[in-house]
Amino acid sequence: MSSFTATQNFSRRDVLKLFGATGGGLALGASGLGWSPMVMAQSAESRLNLFIAIGEDNKVYLTCHRSEMGQGIRTGIAQVLADELGADWDNVVVVQGLADKRYGSQNTDGSRSIRKGFDKMREMGAMARTMLEQAAADKWQISIAEVSTSNNRVSHAKSGKSATFGELAMAASKVKLPDVETLSLKSPKEYTHIGASHAIVDMQDMLTGKAQYGYDVQVDGMLCASITRPPVFGSEVAKFDDSAARKVAGVVDVIQLSATKGAPMFHPLGGVAVIATNSWSALEGRKALQIEWTDSINDSHDSQAYLNMLKERVSQPGKLMRQQGKEVTDWPADSTISALYTVPYLAHAPMEAPSATASVTASGCEVWASTQTPQSVQQNVAAALGLKEEQVKVNVTLLGGGFGRKSKSDYCVEAALLSKKAGKPVKVCWSREDEIQNGYLHAISAQLYQAKLGTDNMPEAILQRSGFPSIGSTFSEGADYPAGWELDLGFVDVPLAVKSLRCEAVKAEAHTRIGWMRSVCNIQHAFGIGSFVDELAVKAKKPCTVMWKELLGDVRQETFANQEFKYGNYGEDLARHPVDIARYRGVIDAVEQAMKKAGTAGHNQGWGFAVHRSFTAFVATALLVEVSEDNQLKVLKAISAIDAGTVVNPDRVKSQTEGAVMFGLSLAMMGEIDFKEGKVVQSNFHDYPMLRMSQCPAIQTIVIESDAPPAGVGEPGVPPVAPSLTSAIFAASGMRIRDLPVSKRLKV
């Protein structure tokens, strides 16, 4: 049995020396740069293109330039590359790409890694395969047309010759790059890895504690920082006393960070940082700080009062965003139904709070971060330090969840500024309280939906209004209307076949940093329209699935022509990613059938249903709930059908859709961030709870088979969950919940 000594006041370097002295298998993850993605990046032998290198040992090194946060992208991108390459999956090693403009955008949000990258990755794979085939053809002095490739091997059937990728790699790397136009790509029938449910490449590391997240980075000589930030947005440090903090064992320094004026952007909030040899000393030192804050214009922000104001505003005319048919001005009381829906502020709460490590030296800065967007880290760190972007090297660790929080690089800039001031590498770790109280929140919102009913209680006209502080306010000071692109997210783009449809937006000022969270504004908009369609269905005495099909109307591809707005369609061409009523019907029918199979609801039980298109994918979700006599809610079953076009890894599409149901249930059942006197009220999982195992329903996921271009997957499963839940609660109990979360009315 070996023995080992470490001291709280020791620096990381001293501890590492001790590890070196004692040896053995103790130092898991302790070697400064010993986390796998970087080591692998160095060991490739022959580079065929930006994404593919082949080792002499026949290993295939595939670069993932997007961030892994649970969606399985390190596996998915590798599958697409490996497929066209003709690689043997057992020989594939995934390398994590650094921040690098040559990759194109690395911003891993908007459910677009596969949606945007599928064709490019296939080309990269085919290009490398062609080079390997050319090298073989040259070697055997035959035409490239005579060779074929599979399982890491190029073969010539006629002569029986064959060579491994490893044997051909060096020669292939010298072959002239083939023209993209000349590449021959596989037909879907020939796919070997696309469409296969390969296990994620990081599985074993995740089950043994070896997987390295931003929080786990350890660099020689590194110090740990914990930062107290302004409790109210817009305030800053007036004065502080750090004498007690400096006496805490392990505390090395206390450094003030200044606030940046104007739009929040990705700037640090400012505050006071305690720097220590270890995380606990930093946290303890922070408790001993005495800080006075300046006044802020947001000191009086009260979320309940603000929500009441938004409800009043959506009850009055707003700014026109879309008009289908003629505006209806006559709303007779006896044939009009209307409802107001609200969703509170929400925080992302990834299990790993934001964390980044930076090392500033004379020549530049190196960052290791749990980030969704390494290029933004590079830009913002360079700007904060006065460096050129190429002087900032950004390594991407695994992310312990992201959900949009980690596509804001403020915490990475904090680490860089502190490393510069401390003269040593510094790791900044946000606590859970920091994450909940100082984040970029999902906007608080109110929506009005109103319908004029005609024959058989079917709507002839619908009016809808939306109000929420815009993400635009994070980038442009004073932005106080929902932006057009935010309204494209489930508000103006619902293809309802009613004679008159009018969509308006109302004013909403921001009082905190507003950000995007998994499925973004689709959260409130799907809750609004999904709930309202259920209310219409109840009124017309029709199943909700039938009401949806009737409201969506004839099978067509909606183009929103002549409606005074240009639909953004998640950055996609409408012809390639259509708003296709047939695909809406496909997911509705699939869920309808599964509901029938699952059986009718029992005593105090009810089914709810909603369908939504977002990130160019179509998802229908049905939930079966029970509401007991004493108002206890139990979610019994969830059925989701997703049509995301071509699917790379069916199991990961399934797991994302399962996870989206859980994410949607967490926010709908319990999610609420409140402000009192400008400050966030909630602080940790006791008052900002997440769904736990006992609250979790049985889940059935149906992945629709399709050869349409790949759509988004990570986010589209979230939006239909909240309206499906509240509709199910109505069916079970007659209680219509229009203000989230459900926990205001029911025990959850």
């Binding site: 470490a6 001291t7 997240y213 786990d216 606990w280 996870g659 999982f685």
Partner: protein
């Protein structure tokens, strides 16, 4: 606050730490011993990401001080020998982001060491303290049942 030399037995090895006895085991194993598989999630015993075993029983390392574990045997994810459980986790393709999974595995292993055929409600109860924000709960439950021989291992594929 004066530091003291403390002896810890972790994963069968002895370590001497010159640290404040009040320091939570979480930060000692992560920052001083480099065992980063034990995760910080909340620092308040609410999420289970830091679950370790103290003399075979599950404990939250964020709320357990070094002084409380003197003379006790600690196991972290790096030392967890639970091949069947890990095999089941692999078969059911449980992890998404993976961050909470060390804590989930530690809680599940502790449950199976006490109860070799846990029912659904036994599992709900034992796993109640472990949050998974990605929402892998249904697969965790299947994996626990699979590891305890209550269901046949099945491929979780579409």
């Amino acid at each position: 606050m004066s530091d003291t030399v403390l002896t810890l037995k972790i994963n069968g090895k002895l370590f001497q730490l010159d640290a404040d006895p009040k320091m939570p085991v979480l930060w000692a194993v992560r920052d001083m011993l480099g065992l980063t598989g034990t995760k910080y999630g909340c620092g308040a015993g609410l999420c289970g990401a830091c679950t370790i075993h103290v003399d075979g029983k599950p404990a939250r390392a964020c709320l357990t001080s070094l002084s409380q574990v003197q003379g006790k045997e600690l196991t972290t994810i790096e030392g967890l020998e639970a091949d069947k459980l890990k095999q089941a986790w692999t078969e059911h393709k449980v992890p998404q982001c993976g961050y909470c999974q060390p804590g989930q595995l530690m809680s599940a292993a502790a449950l199976l060491s006490q109860n070799n055929k846990p029912s659904d409600s036994d599992i709900d109860e034992a796993m109640a303290g472990n949050i998974c924000r990605c929402g892998t709960y249904t697969r965790i439950k299947l994996a626990i049942k699979s590891a305890s021989g209550q269901i046949k291992a099945q491929e979780v594929t579409a």
